[in-house]
Symmetry: C2
Subunit: 238 residues, 2 copies
């Protein structure tokens, strides 16, 4: 059986197999070695994510399979919705957000002690763009998310990773190192463009590599064409 990498997160994960998406890019990179399994749930915050944890990752006795190689945990964009904006029902306070991340990581570690768990912070927010692309009626004229709030959740996520001793991609900080980050990386002030997807893919790849998960260390599923003897092809399949 091929090993798996699970992508667990919100809409930025659920949409990651769209054109140029970071999830599809991972699946393509590991095409002959790993199954990349999509577990993205649009709109979810860490409170809801933890509630459904056992349904997302069924225990071995109920049909769950081998320990995955890695799990990306990519939440916070919805937790960081402002508590008085139109998306307030998705809001989770930053302290609870951090506790929930700890709970999710602990549950993964308990189940699969050797699996690489990788946290990803929410991306930065472009507030003007959020006003141009609301996903519900917004008569207030105020954005439902701010970059400052997203930054506080990103900081909490980085701290949680440090406390758990696991790697983290600080997307909020990384993206803002580029001029024009909003236009380059965000399609609606929150979700990712092709270039934004590329940043996530490259940062996730770096952390997987650092954790020993790379093509050089993985078994290719069935003989590669280059290893098939032109004079006696069937030998490779015995």
């Amino acid at each position: 059986m091929r090993p798996k990498i699970y992508l667990f997160g919100d809409s930025i994960t659920e949409q990651s197999f769209g054109d140029g998406g970071w999830g599809a890019a991972l699946a393509n990179h590991f095409a002959r070695t790993v199954d990349v399994v999509l577990r993205g749930y649009s709109g979810y915050n860490t409170r809801w994510a933890f509630k459904v944890f056992d349904r997302v990752f069924p225990a071995a006795e109920s049909g769950g399979s081998e320990p995955p190689l890695a799990v990306t945990v990519f939440f916070g964009a919805n937790d960081a919705c402002l508590p008085d904006g139109y998306a307030a029902f998705q809001h989770v306070g930053v302290d609870e957000y951090k506790r929930n991340l700890h709970s999710i990581v602990s549950s993964l570690k308990n189940r699969w002690p050797k699996t690489l768990i990788l946290l990803i912070t929410p991306p930065p927010i472009d507030e003007d763009e959020r006003l141009r692309h609301p996903y519900a009626e917004n008569p207030s004229g105020l954005p439902e998310r701010t970059n400052e709030a997203a930054g506080a959740y990103a900081k909490a996520c980085v701290e949680a990773a440090g406390e758990c001793g696991i790697p983290v991609v600080d997307l909020w900080t990384k993206m803002q190192q580029y001029p024009e980050w909003s236009k380059a990386f965000l399609s609606d002030g929150l979700h990712l463009t092709g270039e934004g997807n590329k940043v996530v893919f490259e940062e996730v790849m770096k952390k997987l590599n650092e954790g020993g998960i790379s093509l050089g260390n993985l078994r290719v599923d069935l003989p590669a064409l280059a290893d098939i003897d032109h004079g006696d092809p069937l030998k490779a399949f015995q």
Copy 2:
């Protein structure tokens, strides 16, 4: 557990999670309902594919899981390599190709009687482009594949599907209905451009829909955001 759709084929399947790829597009379309599982093996013909069948689809007793919803079987581009060209080691005669397709389909039907099995014919070939993009030294000055040969295999594939009573996407015929099919759909006279991937995606989607596999008939994995009560979100997760 989410149901699965397996994509079983050669390089045109293995590369299907690349940018704009038909496999990624399927995974994206079914993001909350189905796991699309990549089982593409570059360079493989049906003889090799049948040899490895039990390793690609492990039987239930050795960790194989629930019957998949569907399996796409997309071979022929390598079988159709000319028997006297530089890729002759991949060649399989058209009669054996058809028998091998029958064997693969029978094995799938035996294992999973209710699974939708969908054959896909090889795409058309642009011989001039193949000479410009050889994948091995080719001093002969002749292409290793011809469109005529690919057409014979496509015809055999369509016949096999008819004999097995299963659906088929006749990609060879479909693509050539468009003027400029080579430039539009093929990147190197054989593999697919973004537009070519779109044709495969759309044709596969049609057949899945006709077989009753569509978002309207599938269970969404965990509550959709639209079904979550803003006043009492946790109710949806009880």
